[in-house]
């Protein structure tokens, strides 16, 4: 892909990001940060390429270990980020609707 196509994708994605993020409800801003954290670890792609590369010389050898280190860091983020987001989102509950029976009981008591 040439630079201009990549730049186009980037610019379009910035606009998509702008509109999508404004539509996020403020109550979910903390999960938003946690999940953006998790997805920004897509940098793991670069880490995997480095870790999987074969090559000759010290440069390539060091590069491989840097890649492996980055895989560890990004994996912490991927698993941690998605797990903590899931944990938070599971806590957001709506008000329990009163079943007719329960409200009748409450009226009786009153």
């Amino acid at each position: 892909m040439d630079f201009i196509s990549i730049l186009s994708i980037f610019v379009m994605a910035c606009f998509v990001g702008y509109y999508v993020v404004w539509s996020v409800t403020p109550a979910l801003h903390t999960p938003l940060m946690a999940v953006t954290n998790a997805i920004s670890s897509v940098i793991v792609v670069g880490a995997l390429i480095a870790a999987a590369a074969s090559g000759i010389g010290t440069g390539a050898g060091v590069s491989k270990w840097l890649g492996l280190g980055a895989v560890v860091l990004a994996s912490i983020n991927i698993f941690g980020g998605f797990a903590v987001t899931a944990r938070m989102l599971a806590m957001y509950k709506k008000k329990e609707r009163q079943t007719p029976a329960a409200s009748a009981k409450r009226e009786e008591r009153a």
Binding site: I6, Y18, L32, M33, A34, S54, A74, S75, N77, L89
Partner: protein
């Protein structure tokens, strides 16, 4: 454009990365409401799985055949076989990181969420630095080597006596790489400081260096200079200097910022981690990384904007830092003794029981005291008495955007009882009790009236319109983070409840249940 061509990425893989990027967009889209958010999170996980699997398949580690090369292979190119040892090492790295992340995510207390997010940001930043360096050291693997087609350039790049100079990285990739490393390094060191401040391992007070603005500008110029140098020379000294100076500037940028400005800082670092990923995406020509980087970058930027607006401060002034310290000198002089009323838990319980509408305003103090569960118990007891209870949340309450909402959700407060500032501010006139727990500046009327106040112009709750104001505070001595005295303490209808927030609410619950 031939030189830029990525030989290694097949079109199915490019499509897979695009799908991953779209799934990430859907992950954020899901957060528009709590009911769709869980599905959104799953989209994100699927997207990440696709991105990782695609990379593992297209970049499976290969090695020369250990059983030697057949004569035919030597003639037609060397024979390679899958390197399962290297692959195992990668799986081990994923398992190690994944395990640490998973356990941390399970164990972390919801009150500690801001420092966890800061810690996660620092990891993205450091990973970006490592990947950038890896790409610099092994450019062939990343497909960013410049292919020289004309003889003149090739000759120009040949050293004395015909020695071949080291591999030339494509100049454009050099810039992208340097930017990725610089942003990643700033994200890393900045997030580490933010983490230490949020976790209380370092004083939350702003640390002011003399001439810090000048130092920062000089450092930024130096980084720009070395990026240019790196572009010209591809020298390891330049990229090392870029890395070190970026670490230093990230550190210097965050130390002068005080605790209550942390919502802005955390959002800003969120944004940086996105831009770092995007820069790496440019280097690798990877759509998933570019889309994600743009999403995360704009997400963090928007959150910073919302936070700044909620404090009526410009982004620049927050980043310039030192809010708390500057305010203290102004507010300290005009201290006078004014009468205020102290209430007991029993008084509060009595008034709350009689009330029709109660609005609870939680702040960071509630998080510190871990009072959210007992607060919900109090609200439940009141609801049983027929009291209408609502929660009002200021955008900058707590240490990160949405911090209070998560804590209330953790305490099982239904999210449709929780309201944002602009949605509920009109209701204080009808409220019998405004119950302030651990908040201060966000209810300070000085923001509306006193032009000399450092928080002037910040949108605040109109608690002065409520019939009764209950203000839980540890003591009368401390003022809010901004260092400004609060007129609400001295109003006729205000009842100061001086105690630890959790203990006070527990006592109120006890008297309510009698």
């Amino acid at each position: 454009m031939n030189a830029m061509e990525h030989s290694a990425t097949p079109s199915w893989a490019m499509l897979a990365y695009l799908i991953a990027g779209v799934l990430f967009i859907l992950a954020l889209r899901g957060l528009s409401s709590p009911s769709s958010s869980r599905a959104g999170n799953r989209y994100g996980m699927i997207g990440m799985t696709i991105a990782v699997l695609t990379t593992l398949v297209t970049h499976f580690p290969l090695a020369l055949n250990p059983f030697g090369q057949s004569p035919a292979a030597i003639e037609h190119g060397l024979e390679v076989v899958p390197d399962f040892g290297a692959f195992g090492l990668i799986l081990l790295a994923i398992a190690l990181g994944g395990g640490i992340g998973w356990v941390t995510a399970r164990k972390i207390a919801m009150t500690d969420m801001p420092q966890l997010v800061a810690a996660f940001h620092s990891l993205v930043g450091l990973a970006a630095v490592l990947v950038g360096w890896a790409a610099y050291l092994n450019p062939e693997a990343f497909g960013i080597v410049e292919v020289v087609n004309d003889v003149a350039t090739a000759l120009a790049r040949t050293g004395p006596e015909g020695t071949v100079l080291p591999t030339h990285i494509h100049p454009q990739s050099l810039i992208e790489m340097a930017l990725g490393i610089a942003i990643g390094a700033i994200t890393f060191s900045g997030s580490v400081i933010a983490f230490l401040k949020l976790a209380g391992k370092m004083s939350g007070a702003p640390i002011m260096l003399p001439a810090r603005h000048a130092i920062n500008i000089v450092l930024l110029l130096a980084i720009a200079f070395f990026i240019f140098g790196f572009f010209m020379s591809q020298s390891m000294v330049d990229i090392a200097l870029i890395t070190v100076l970026s670490f230093v500037i990230g550190f210097l940028l965050i130390i002068p910022i005080g605790g209550a400005d942390m919502p802005v800082v955390v959002s800003m670092l969120n944004s940086y981690s996105g831009w770092a990923a995007a820069a790496m995406g440019f280097t690798l020509h990877n759509t998933a990384m570019i889309i994600t980087g743009a999403l995360v970058g704009s997400s963090g930027a928007i959150l910073s904007y919302i936070m700044c607006k909620a404090m009526n401060r410009s982004f620049v002034s927050v980043i310039a830092g030192g809010f708390g310290a500057a305010a203290e000198t102004g507010g300290g002089a005009a201290k006078e003794q004014r009468p205020w009323k102290r209430g007991s838990a029993e008084d509060a319980a009595f008034l709350l029981k009689e009330a029709e509408n109660v609005i609870i305003i939680p702040g960071y103090g509630m998080a510190v005291a871990q009072a959210q569960h007992v607060l919900r118990e109090m609200a439940d007891t009141l609801k049983k008495e027929g009291v209408n209870v609502k929660y009002a949340i200021h955008p900058v309450a707590g240490r990160m955007p949405g911090h209070m909402n998560v804590l209330l959700a953790e305490a099982n407060v239904p999210y449709d009882e929780v309201f944002e500032l602009e949605d509920i501010n009109g209701e204080f006139a009808q409220a019998d009790v405004a119950f302030i727990i651990g908040a201060n500046d966000v209810v300070n009327p000085a923001a509306k009236t006193d032009k000399s106040s450092p928080i002037y112009g910040m949108p605040v709750f109109d608690v002065d319109k409520a019939k009764t104001v209950m203000f839980i505070k540890r003591s009368m001595s401390g003022v809010g983070y901004s260092g400004v005295d609060n007129d609400v303490f001295y109003m006729d209808q205000t009842m100061m409840l001086l105690a630890d927030a959790k203990k006070m609410v527990e006592e109120i619950v006890k008297s309510l249940q009698h």
